[in-house]
């Protein structure tokens, strides 16, 4: 959570007289308790999942995991290097495709589009619907149009474009929220001082919206990183002993590799899969940390 946001709230509350009656009514206690229970459910599940995965995968959490390639003859020597690098490549390019597109779309919809025009409203509704489309549908789209139609094949490029389409609605929606949260008075002041609309957006609105957009984008990419279904449909590989060397490379990603290892019958694969899950969680955590840092670094108070 952003400490700045909390600070701001705290200062507001300090100015106002503190409103609190004598004693706490029962209703309030019940409400409080239910809040704690809801919180506990989320935290306990996450913690037990982490504990389970860590205990299962602890024996394999060593350099073998990222130094070695998959090994199906001797699983104890196997690693997930090709899957880790595949994930880095695919998510890197997904970010490269979907962030500019999503943010530019959001700017258009918020700053330029006339909300009274029916086509703009249609675009909005469409984007919101797309966010709810099951990911496997994007996989079919990716296989039919990007892989076969455009002839890109089962490559990093196809996977990145497919995942971009998958998370684009989320990026657009969160970026729009961030842009909308910039006070109208800032825009008016900028325009009143003689700035053009473009200068206003570039120098005032966008810098102010960076924290929100970054958070939304990174959460969207975090979703993409955990997706296996659409990539499986594209022809996810389960044995690959080289890292991608370009967008035309074949690849596998961590979720697919984990999925495959979990369904192997030998016990060594299960601990290997657990260790790979820990790596995936670590990557996710790192990405979320970047989101928090960005938000704190760039957040402003008006």
């Amino acid at each position: 959570m952003s400490s700045k946001v909390i600070d701001r709230d705290a200062t507001i509350h300090q100015d106002a007289p503190r409103l609190k009656g004598k004693g706490t009514p029962l209703r309030e206690r019940v409400f409080h308790l239910s809040l704690w229970v809801s919180l506990a459910v989320a935290v306990v599940f996450l913690a037990s999942l982490l504990a389970y995965v860590l205990s299962e995968g602890w024996s394999r959490l060593d350099p073998r995991l990222w130094m070695n390639f998959p090994d199906y003859i001797d699983p104890t020597q196997g690693g997930a290097q090709s899957a880790i690098m595949g994930t880095v490549w695919v998510i890197g390019f997904t970010a490269a495709y979907c962030l500019p597109t999503g943010i530019l779309t959001a700017i258009y919809l918020e700053e330029y589009a006339d909300p009274d025009k029916w086509w703009n409203r249609a675009i909005e509704i469409n984007i919101q619907n797309l966010a709810a489309v099951p990911s496997i549908v994007y996989g079919i789209l990716g296989l039919g149009i990007i892989s076969r139609g455009l002839g890109f094949g089962q490559t990093v490029l196809t996977a990145s474009l497919t995942l971009s389409l998958l998370v684009l609605p989320v990026v657009i929606i969160s970026s729009r929220e961030a842009i909308r949260a910039v006070p109208q008075s800032i825009r008016q002041a900028s325009l009143a001082l003689g700035a053009t609309q473009w200068q206003t957006i570039w120098r005032q609105v966008l810098p102010a919206a960076v924290p929100g957009m970054a958070t939304g984008s990174i959460l969207a990419l975090s979703r993409a990183i955990g997706e296996a279904a659409p990539l499986l449909l594209l022809g996810g590989l389960t044995f690959i002993t080289f890292n991608p060397s370009g967008v035309q490379s074949q690849f596998t990603v961590l979720p697919i590799q984990i999925f495959n290892w979990i369904s192997q019958s030998r016990a060594e694969f299960v601990s290997l899969a657990s260790a790979a899950i820990v790596i995936l969680l670590a990557i996710l955590l790192a990405m979320n940390s970047v989101a928090i840092w960005l938000r704190n670094r760039y957040s402003r108070t008006w």
Partner: protein, 324 residues
Amino acid sequence: MNISTSLRRAKAPLALTAAVMLAASACGGADAGSGGEGGDKLSGTVKVDGSSTVAPLSTVAAQLFQQANPGVKVTVGTSGTGGGFEKFCAGETDISNASREIKDEEKALCEKKGVKFEEFSVANDGLSVVVSKDNDFVECLTVEQLKKIWEPGSKVNNWNQVDPKFPNQKMDLFGAGTDSGTFDYFTDAINGEEGASRTDYNPSEDDNVTVRGVSGSKGGIGYFGLSYFEENKDKLKALKIDGGKGCVAPGVETVQNGTYTPLGRQLFIYPKASSLEKPEAEAFVEYYVENSAEIAEKAQFVPLNAEQQKELEKDLATLREQHS
């Protein structure tokens, strides 16, 4: 295609990250010894896809082959037998793994797309019908009894409905998910029609789920690959199957000699003819065929018997003649 070249520029920072993260990339696994011929000069990629049953076999083959030929990149995917043929006939893969013979409509599809192929049987596979260790009343089932349990619309939910001699014990059914080759194979062998099965059972693509389910239920019954049973012998009991000639226990010999019917089968690879023109793909297929016994053993499959191996080598010899 133009997109990719213009994107080359963008990948520089990413490649840097990659390089930092993996300053030293070691390749795992000791050299397994059994070297293929012609070794180090081959390069290129061989794409294998198809049945998830055959995938462990092809993966082990790929791994051993790559140790002998480090320049060749072999990849294995698991789209399923049907999904594999779909990609194969679209020309997207070099070799398709299959846990059954290619169907006529798949042949037609390949023909339409101009994809010619060869067929090699590379190992045997058996399905085992398993019950819990706690189950002390059943040792052997006939194919008719299995059919009675598993046929579409079957209402059997108690063991005494299968045979009045069995006790009054509720039956819990576990089986393969409808997308798996195991499901296709079991339904074809038992119910006489591929895909025909009762639907009110616990399906899973993951055989470990079946192991857990059956071992935890006294009246449980399920089916999956023989190799899974071999690994879970301590938790499960495999039933003998009577295919009309008496009860036969599942095992390496009975699958190899063909007495374990109808739940013993052959596994195939289908290399594309045009891919076999590529020296690396041809070398891989040759390696696969010549070392099929070692590969099957390492992947925990039932190897071919002497007769099957001889036939396989004859197929390979024919292939070599065509290409020389």
